[in-house]
Amino acid sequence: MKDSDKKYYALTFVCKDRYGIVADVSKVLYDNGFNLEDSSSTLLRGFFSMILIVSSSNNYSEDDISAMFSDLEDISISVRSMNGSDATFANGNSYIVSVYGSDKPGIVHSVAEYLRDKNINIIDLQTKVAGKEKKPIYIMVLEILVPENYREEEWVPELKEISENMGTDIHIRQIETYEF
């Protein structure tokens, strides 16, 4: 199959956690001739959540694909067809940013808005509420791609100031990847 003949679809599944969710979903994909191109799945607060990019040589409608999963009644699904693989190779320097502190509204939003204004791309984001019920701690870990021409002085101090104004702690470290 040539790459240009492939059709790509983005599928998401959310299901109250139980045994066999991955087995059930992947069986339908396998039986219908889909390839799993890229995926990320994790357990979020008792709900198993899957995001899959799949490909097929057939041109399905979004409804066709949803219907293939109609037997899996406890799983919510959404389907979106994509143009090409929409695969882009991002450039920039990777940083891991951890922001954490007592839980309050707007932590993710404040950080994300600053990053958007700076054209810094978020490529991975995880948040959790941890700690005791009466004293919850909010933890956010981001991986971002900073354009190569940015010096750290141009964004690190401002991001730290945003965190300070929210009363949260922040840690920023560069992730270097080496090919051996």
Binding site: S94, Q126, T177, E179, F180
Partner: protein, 167 residues
């Protein structure tokens, strides 16, 4: 002098246990030369192991000086029959591999290692090194036992959250 082609996974030679080098034969000298030539030919290669050029012997070459951010290193080294004899500390590193193109992952490595080996003249040597160069050494020595960094990945994502049971 020969720059060799890099063996790419799923070539099964990358999953083999490599043989000890008993003596510095002409064959081994040639492998050493080819390893160094192949590493030098790639602008970003800071280390290479013999199975990556298809030779199943315990030989690696490293050159941490090619990483401009690496300040403490021993320059270009050939290590025959290398063995980690002591290690301490743990650090996380995001690694990729010439033999597993277009994929990277987070791997835990010892922060500091002591490695016993024979150099290119078959003299017994020991080096102690840390951080970047220690990671390169561990990655390359793993190749001699058929271990790829993919075997050691902790998490593709940032591995920070302790998994919590909600049920």
């Amino acid at each position: 002098m020969a720059v060799r082609e890099i063996v790419i996974y799923p070539d099964e030679r990358l999953k083999e246990h490599c043989k000890e080098v008993p003596v510095l034969s002409e064959e081994v000298k040639k492998i050493v030369q080819d390893l160094v030539d192949t590493m030098d030919a790639s602008s970003h290669s800071v280390g290479i192991a013999a199975p990556q050029i298809g030779e199943l012997y315990r030989v690696i070459a490293i050159d941490a000086s090619k990483n401009k951010k690496c300040e403490n290193h021993h320059g270009k080294l050939v290590l025959i029959n290398p063995e980690v004899v002591k290690w301490e500390g743990i650090m996380q590193f995001r690694e990729g591999c010439m033999s597993v193109p277009d994929y990277t992952g987070n791997v835990n490595r010892a922060r500091k290692v002591m490695v016993q080996y024979q150099d290119e003249n078959f003299n017994d040597k020991v080096i102690e090194t840390e951080d970047f160069e220690a990671v390169v050494l561990q990655h390359e020595i793993d190749h001699l036992d058929g271990i790829l960094f993919v075997d050691r990945i902790i998490s593709k994502r940032t591995d920070l959250f302790r998994r919590k049971k909600y049920r």
